[in-house]
């Protein structure tokens, strides 16, 4: 049973560019949450997708947007990149019901903005 997978592993972009990160949830999970983890910090909640809609959002600007597909996979898009967007981006999947009611995290995508 594959866990949460994310791609790419690492990414280097320059200021002003746009980036798309991808996530596939664990089998049986239908909810995807995205977190940003800056160096030396705990993860900060960006938003959550359920039934292809954004269900909850944290304190992040509109430059951060997402999408969820019918197979429950998800994308995180960041426009007009800033140096401060450099971080590890973590995807977590979960669902409803025993064994799915906890968020399980992928290995993350390390984004560096130059």
């Amino acid at each position: 049973d594959a866990g949460v997978t994310q791609s790419p592993t690492h990414l280097i972009k320059t200021r002003g560019q746009q980036v798309t990160l991808r996530c596939s949830p664990k089998s049986g999970h239908d909810t995807v949450s995205w977190y940003q983890q800056a160096l030396g910090q705990g993860p900060q909640f960006i938003f959550q997708y359920y039934e292809e809609e954004e269900r909850q959002r944290g304190n992040f600007p509109d430059r951060f947007s997402g999408h969820q597909y019918p197979n429950y996979s998800s994308e995180l898009n960041v426009n007009a990149l800033l140096l401060g967007d450099s971080a590890l981006y973590l995807c977590a999947s979960s669902g409803v019901g025993t064994g799915t009611d906890t968020q399980y995290f992928g290995p993350g995508t390390r984004l560096t903005v130059l």
């Binding site: 909810t31 993860p43 909640f45 359920y50 909850q56 409803v96 009611d101 906890t102 968020q103 399980y104």
Partner: protein, 116 residues
């Protein structure tokens, strides 16, 4: 305001010694409680969680945690630390729901160093 506090940024222990990592939260109602571990450059692995029932919960890798409602605490313990336990540990809280999970709030983490 909702928050999680991990007062110890760094902790160093000798291999074989006992360990306690502290976690306090401010959340309003009693939340769901979690401990995750993160090795360098890796994602987060769930160690244990508390939803209800017995306030002492057992997790993977020999870790346990105790929920104390009166102190709003959920401290992580291990009787004998192994060198492979060196990592960063995060306490997190999430809302009690029956319709899936929502936003988790994380502490800033405690980095554990183990001396041989």
């Amino acid at each position: 305001a909702q928050s999680v506090t991990q007062p110890d940024i760094h902790i160093t222990v000798s291999e074989g010694a006992s360990l306690e990592l502290r976690c306090n939260y401010s959340y309003g109602a009693t939340p769901y409680l979690f401990w995750y571990v993160q090795s360098p450059g890796q994602g987060l692995q769930l160690l244990l969680k508390y939803f209800s029932g017995d306030t002492l919960v057992q997790g993977i890798k020999g870790f346990e945690a105790e929920f104390k409602r009166s102190q709003s605490s959920f401290n992580l313990r291990k009787p004998s630390v192994h060198w492979s336990d060196a990592a960063e540990y995060f306490c997190a809280v999430g809302p009690r729901t029956t319709s899936g999970t929502y936003k988790y709030i994380f502490g800033t983490g405690t980095r554990l160093k183990v001396l041989a």
